[in-house]
Amino acid sequence: MFLAILRDSLEQFAFMFSEENDERRFADWREPCLHVSIMFSGGHDAVITLTAPESLCAEMAANILGTEPGDLGAEDDSDALKELANVVCGKLIPELFGDRATFDLSVPSSVHIGEREWLKLAEDKTAVQLWVEDKPMLAKLAITGKV
């Protein structure tokens, strides 16, 4: 369900199409990345993380605003991935817990990560791996407990 919602959100919000991982190795990708987290708490506590190369975030921001990659600033690139996480979170909660469930969502946060952190995330078997416009994206939903 998480994967379907992520792919659907990419299409609707960023006009980007994705495919699930093929034989290409995520660990081989070499590029600075952005790592975004959003938490929600209520009946359960959970965190959604999205990680993508900075160049993919730039394409996403340009798609959303109908401009060319490079026309926008780094803050917009980060905002694009954060907002995608926000959209995924908003769609996921009613699917998981029903449309009457009320959760408090955190403001999404982002950090830049390098090769070492990317490799570690790429080896996480619980993360979803997607190719978006031929660039990798890692996504993870971790439900940490019931309150």
């Binding site: 926000n86 959209v87 908003g90 909660i93 959760f103």
Partner: protein, 128 residues
């Protein structure tokens, strides 16, 4: 009659998307004002004529729900309709917001048609 729009969201890209979607929908506002959180929005409302507010819920500093509460205390909700634009879809949340005085609710991602319908409905008689 000209009208002014205030867009409240901590994400610059979302503010830009809302502004662009308003234009795509054929909504020709005289002025589009922007705020990064509820506090900034209240400051803008103090010194500008605003006819409709589009606001997110989750923002740092002062969130959209707190902003609506302050607007209600100041008696602004009767004259300035607030439309929440959020990823949250809980019917309980939407019910609570409407009980506070929020006039409408749009889920992200939204369409130009949904924005146009809301503006036409809430600003009937003001647009010209």
């Amino acid at each position: 009659m000209a009208f002014n729009v205030l867009i409240v969201d901590d994400s610059r890209i979302v503010r830009a998307v809302v502004a662009r979607t308003l234009k795509m929908a054929g909504v020709e506002a005289d002025k589009i004002l922007e705020a990064g959180n509820g506090k900034e929005a209240l400051d803008i409302l103090d010194s500008n004529k605003v006819d409709i507010v589009f606001a997110d819920i989750n923002m740092p500093g002062m969130n959209g729900i707190e902003m609506v509460g302050h607007m209600k205390e100041k008696g602004l909700l009767a004259s300035i309709p607030v439309v929440i634009i959020s990823t949250e879809r809980s019917v309980t949340r939407i019910h609570d917001l409407k009980a506070m005085g929020v006039r409408d609710y749009l889920s992200k991602p939204f369409t130009p048609e949904s924005i146009r319908d809301v503006v036409n409905r809430l600003l009937a008689g003001k647009k010209g």
